[in-house]
């Protein structure tokens, strides 16, 4: 659907009174061309809902010597490249219940508007009042030709419900401007490579188009023939340009997706997760983007993870009491599964050499795994889970850090600073007052 902020923009793009945007300049950007220049930096923010079981999640000790608890054991191979940040709190208040503010203020650091979405408690709310940090950094990167990419950012989803409301959106391009993640790997594939497929389809017909033009031309008088000859010349030119473009390849080709993986059944969640991770790494390899978000379900997500032997919905489980040991065990398992997804993503990045650079892709990427709540049954917004993996932002990794209840805006600022974007405030200005977290 076309959305334009003004009639004039629309008219300009529709070519009314202005030249049309040439089709061929929309060729995919060329990964290999960026061999020279400063090393790339990338950020992935991964989301899972309903909080964690703190004693099975957070390391006990601080510093470089720490033991991974049950939920985080999948990250053992990456211990030297990870950070756990305990004591970082979502201190944004205002309209909306904890779940809504948990996801809506998580990447934005700013209050929600009053609105008509009523949560389990508190006042009804609408969307967040500002943009999210991934979009802030994306804008910064896109403004610089050295770091500009074809898409700027990519939003991946796994089993995110189709509805658009304060519980299903965490990425905002501005106040009241949420972006929906793409749930369907085929849709994502089309977004990344549809253009190239179009060009393949086009190449396969241009010969016949010229044959057709010749046949028609032959039946016309001299003056009419001139018009078709001009036309034929353009077709030939397009064919040549497509041939030339063929010579400049992406670093890796489009991945082949197995057919028929439907995005709406919980049983498919592991497969969907794997496909989205593959697409994400592929997109990064071809430098289609350097910012990505990966959202698993939504705030209050109710996934039933049958492959883990769990039959109850995630959110329901998260509300069981602390003394319900069965529930605690299952919740620990659920977060361990999410952690396995993170580990799979990190593994793939670590096993892929950095295109046109040194080391592995993981050395140039920072993954941030986070959650809407500190703990599910209390709905606390304190001690929001933040686990970082990778080397993209120049942080000193391989540590467990404990803070004393600092606002998470400061961590969002740290992410921006990691890219060289020296923001002083982000989201609610009071919560940014103490500046960015120094993680170097």
């Amino acid at each position: 659907m076309m959305r334009y902020s003004s009639r004039r923009e629309f008219l300009r793009d529709l070519g009314v009174g202005a030249a049309a945007a040439p089709f061929l300049t929309q060729l995919p950007s060329l990964g290999f061309a960026r061999d020279t220049g400063p090393a790339k930096q990338r950020l992935i923010i991964m989301f899972s809902p309903n909080g964690v079981i703190p004693q099975n999640f957070w390391p006990d000790t601080e510093g470089e010597d720490f033991t991974l608890k049950e939920s985080l054991t999948p990250l053992e191979p990456f211990k030297k490249q990870m950070l756990t940040l305990h004591g970082v709190c979502d201190k944004v208040r205002g309209d909306g219940d904890s779940h809504m503010r948990g996801i809506g203020c998580l990447l934005t650091g700013v209050e929600l508007f009053p609105g008509n979405i009523q949560g389990g408690s508190h006042t009804p709310a609408g969307w967040a009042k500002g943009l999210s940090i991934d979009q802030e950094i994306k804008n910064y990167l896109q403004a610089n030709p050295a770091t500009k990419t074809r898409f700027g950012s990519l939003e991946f989803g796994v089993m995110v419900p189709e509805r658009a409301d304060t519980w299903t959106r965490m990425v905002y391009t501005g106040a009241n401007k949420p972006i929906a993640p793409i749930n369907d790997p085929y849709q994502m594939l089309n977004k990344l490579y549809g253009r190239a497929k179009d060009q393949e389809a086009l190449k396969s017909v241009l010969d016949e188009v010229r044959e057709d033009l010749d046949a028609v031309k032959g039946k016309l008088g001299a003056e009419d023939r001139r018009l078709l000859e001009e036309h034929a010349a353009f077709v030939r030119e397009m064919e040549q340009q497509l041939q030339a473009a063929k010579a400049e390849k992406n670093v890796v080709p489009a991945p082949e997706l197995p057919p028929g993986v439907k995005g709406d059944s919980a049983e498919n969640m592991p497969r969907l997760s794997q496909l989205q991770i593959d697409l994400l790494v592929n997109a990064f390899q071809n430098d289609f983007s350097r910012i990505a978000t990966l959202q698993y379900t939504n705030s209050v997500g109710g996934a039933k993870m049958k492959w883990l032997g769990i039959t109850e919905g995630h959110h329901e489980l998260s509300h069981k009491e602390d003394k319900d040991t069965a529930a605690v065990e299952q919740l620990t398992k659920i977060n361990k599964w999410f952690c396995e997804q993170l580990a799979a993503l990190a593994k793939k990045l670590s096993e892929t050499p950095e295109p046109g650079g040194e080391g592995s892709m993981l050395d140039h990427t920072t993954i941030v795994w986070t959650n809407e709540l500190g703990k599910g049954n209390s709905h606390t917004l304190d001690d929001i889970p933040f686990v970082l993996v990778g080397g993209g932002l120049g942080f000193r990794m391989g540590r467990s850090i404990k803070y004393r209840k600092i606002p998470h805006n400061r961590l969002l600022l740290a992410l921006a600073h990691g890219f060289g974007h020296r923001l002083e405030r982000f989201g609610n200005p009071d919560l940014s007052a103490d500046g960015f977290l120094n993680l170097a």
Binding site: I117, G126, V205, V216, K219, L220
Partner: protein, 751 residues
């Protein structure tokens, strides 16, 4: 002494010389150096020597002002002879046609035709529900936060969507503080272009137009206090689009309201009027998003006579868009899914139908092999095959150009000409099948189909587009007036005036009589309460649009319509030049070159004692200006009784208005009049007016020069126009019918 003799001798020799020189020889000596051997002009003087003056007026002009550097040296007999030569060799209309015989050019689809054709091609594979004659939207209210069948309590037709509900429910049947509503139906787009829709609500609401699964406005989550939610959408004119609004009020909210508003180009935002809504159903249309370079409009109508790289890329982009759409909606369009057992046999058949409809004719066996069989044989799978067929069809000159067969036109060509003439798009199924059955041969059969098409909203929309162009509405965008002099003339008045003009044009054109002369004779104007107040007519303040007389002075149809009077004026003063130019071009069919120098109008403040008429006359007094302004000004002065906002006045600067004027017919007669009504009466009876209207209309509807369809075509059309009582509807039908059976690209010969 010697010198004097020589001088006298020279004079004597000169007149004696002229006596036995032919017009051509005089031309060669006195005119050729500036005007060129064939009137084609020269480096310093590039304009063509063509025009609309009668022979008599041309002679007078030559005697008075030529040669340019020595006016007065070509007079009397000499002037007569050379003018006669110039008139017959290249100046007159007949000479122009003879020198450059107009012919039917090979034309590609214009951008508008392309967009229409794509929309209709895809739509032909979907259901076309019968239009619902009722007006308004189907409204349902529910006793729950979400529209649920078992909670429905009201089911009716609401005339418009502009509702403010009491906080406890829209109707007594709705109980409680939580409720929802759904409005469904169709929306008729009156014009092609960008619409700004505003779904205004203090609660949560969504608007779907055309695309059934993707809301145009998604304000389901109310966030903050903003109640206006605007999005733009490009729509093609004359078509019905499915529309749906869903709305809900949350318990804690203190108020409830929802309205569906739109803003058309150059109008103010308003609630979508009942006239454009129906509670029926419509299939969604494929409106391609590709941007196109604009068509050539140098001849006054959009032509597909040029190709360019940008155009080639745009049509390619569009073809890819359609290919993607067809494959992702394959089941709905073809009745066959890609993985169905019989897909392999049914899909080629679907592609063949698609290509036939795109080409406007059945495929020959060779073409079936080329366009269908080969792609299916070569492609790696069925989806790729379908895509390839769509691309081949839409990138083929058989789709992109009109009539490339090269053979003698057949009934399929007739069908295509009827369709493109009436609605700038492909033949519909009924028309196509009539051609296939050989039922488009006789004049009766052809007229029957034409009349059927002319009765549709799409055809009405095309005629409306013609009027836009004929009345130069694209010059009437900015209607801002001096706020001190005309404080009440605001955007709302301007918007109402546009509607008033629309109503008048529709009323005349589609009435039974369809009498063209009403365009220059009608003594009424469509006014609503707001306009009546401004133009001092006697109507209630909230009166709907209706024909109104009185308080408006001496009206003459379009000529004095307040929109045109205000449009052809400056912010405080009138512009007789613009008004005169309008009459001369659109009603008398005259052609004018741009002014020789750019001239700023003399400021009224510098000449405060002069009337507009006096000031304009002063400004255009120089000889160089008079060649055109001698014609333009006296036409424009007839409107001086109508001020810069179209109100009637009897005086200006304290002096009585002088609205006398005249024009010269092509035959050389002078027609005099005083005021717009008399001008209207003269125009109504004038051959030139009929001829000009017919020529403009023909060019717009057929997009070919009228003379290319036969040198006598304009006169034949004019005679039947007169005989039909000047019926515009019958003229439209006659224009399309006569062009539908013309031979293949003749050279201006009679068919």
């Amino acid at each position: 002494m010697k010198i004097l003799v020589f001088f006298i001798g020279f004079l004597g020799a000169s007149s004696a010389w002229a006596d036995d020189q032919s017009g051509e020889q005089i031309y060669a000596k006195k005119c050729l150096s500036c005007h060129g051997k064939n009137g084609e002009g020269s480096k310093d003087h590039p304009e063509l020597l063509i025009g609309d003056r009668s022979l008599e007026k041309l002679t007078a002009y030559v005697a008075r002002s030529m040669p340019e550097d020595k006016p007065g040296t070509c007079i009397g007999d000499e002037a007569k002879k050379v003018s006669a030569y110039i008139y017959d060799a290249f100046y007159s209309r007949a000479a122009q046609a003879r020198n450059k015989p107009p012919h039917i050019e090979l034309a590609r689809l214009t951008v508008g035709q392309f967009r229409n054709a794509i929309a209709d091609l895809v739509a032909s594979f979907k259901e076309t529900p019968k239009p619902d004659e009722r007006r308004g939207l189907h409204a349902e209210y529910f006793n729950a936060k979400r529209p649920k069948d078992d909670k429905r309590v009201v089911d009716r037709v609401d005339p418009v969507l502009d509702a403010v509900f009491p906080a406890d429910g829209p109707t007594p049947e709705v109980k409680g503080e939580e409720f929802s509503g759904r409005w469904t139906g169709t929306l008729l787009a009156p014009e092609t272009g960008v619409y700004e829709f505003n779904l205004e609500s203090v609660n949560g609401a969504r608007l779907f137009i055309n695309a059934p699964d993707q809301p145009l406005v998604d304000a389901w989550v109310r966030s903050g206090d903003e109640k206006a939610h605007r999005e733009t959408l490009y729509l093609l004119a004359g078509r019905l689009y499915p529309v749906k609004v869903e709305f809900f009020k949350e318990k804690k909210e203190k108020a409830a309201s929802v309205a569906l508003k739109w803003k058309l180009a150059d109008r103010v935002e308003e609630v979508v009027p009942q006239d454009y809504l129906s509670p029926g159903r419509a299939s969604d249309l494929l409106l391609i998003r590709t941007a196109f370079p604009p068509d050539d409009k140098s001849m006054g109508y959009e032509r597909g006579n040029l190709v360019s790289k940008a155009w080639d890329e745009a049509t390619t982009e569009a073809a890819l868009e359609v290919a993607g759409y067809v494959t992702s909606h394959l089941r709905a369009l073809s009745g066959v899914a890609l993985d169905a057992a019989d897909a392999k046999t049914k899909l080629p058949s679907f592609c063949r139908k698609f290509t036939e409809r795109a080409f406007r004719r059945p495929l020959t066996p060779e073409q079936v092999s080329f366009f269908i069989d080969r792609p299916f044989a070569q492609a790696k799978d069925l989806e790729a095959a379908v895509k390839k067929c769509v691309l081949l069809a839409l990138k083929s000159p058989r789709f992109l150009y009109r009539e490339v067969g090269g053979a003698e036109p057949d009934q399929f060509d007739t069908a295509a000409r009827i369709a493109f003439g009436a609605w700038d798009s492909l033949p519909d199924t009924e028309l196509f099948e009539a051609a296939r059955a050989g039922k488009l041969g006789t004049r009766e059969e052809i007229l029957k189909q034409i009349e059927r098409l002319l009765g549709t909203p799409r055809a009405h929309a095309k005629v409306r587009q013609f009027y836009q162009q004929w009345l130069q509405m694209d010059r009437l965008h900015e209607l801002s007036k001096n706020a001190k002099r005309f404080p009440e003339f605001n955007e709302q008045i301007a918007s109402d005036l546009r509607r008033s003009l629309d109503l008048f044009l529709d009323d005349v054109t589609w009435s039974e009589a369809s009498d063209f002369r009403q365009f220059v004779l009608a003594d009424y104007v469509f006014l609503n309460g707001r306009l009546a107040k401004f133009y001092k007519a006697d109507l209630a303040e909230d009166a709907p649009f209706q024909k109104a007389l009185g308080g408006l002075g001496q009206h003459a149809g379009l000529l004095t319509h307040p929109l045109l009077m205000a449009g052809f004026a400056y912010d405080s003063t009138t512009s007789p030049i613009h008004r005169g130019l309008f009459v001369a071009r659109s009603l008398l069919g005259r052609r004018f070159r741009p002014p020789p120098e750019a001239v700023t109008p003399l400021s009224p403040e510098l000449l405060p004692d002069m009337t507009t008429r006096e000031r304009v006359s002063l400004q255009t007094k120089p000889q160089a200006c008079q060649s055109c302004h001698a014609t333009i000004n006296p036409l424009g002065f007839a409107f001086e009784n109508f001020d810069a906002v179209g109100r009637y006045r009897n005086t200006e600067q304290g002096k009585p208005i002088d609205a006398s004027g005249f024009y010269w017919t092509r035959g050389g007669d002078t027609v005099k009049f005083n005021g717009a009504r008399q001008l209207g009466e003269s125009l109504a009876a004038a051959e030139e007016t009929q001829a000009a209207f017919i020529e403009h209309l023909f060019h717009f509807m057929i997009k070919q020069p009228v003379l290319a369809h036969g040198l006598d075509r304009p006169e034949t059309l004019r005679q039947s126009f007169i005989q039909s009582g000047y019926s515009i509807r019958k003229l439209l039908a006659e224009i399309i019918a006569s062009s539908a059976t013309v031979g293949a690209r003749n050279q201006g010969k009679n068919p």
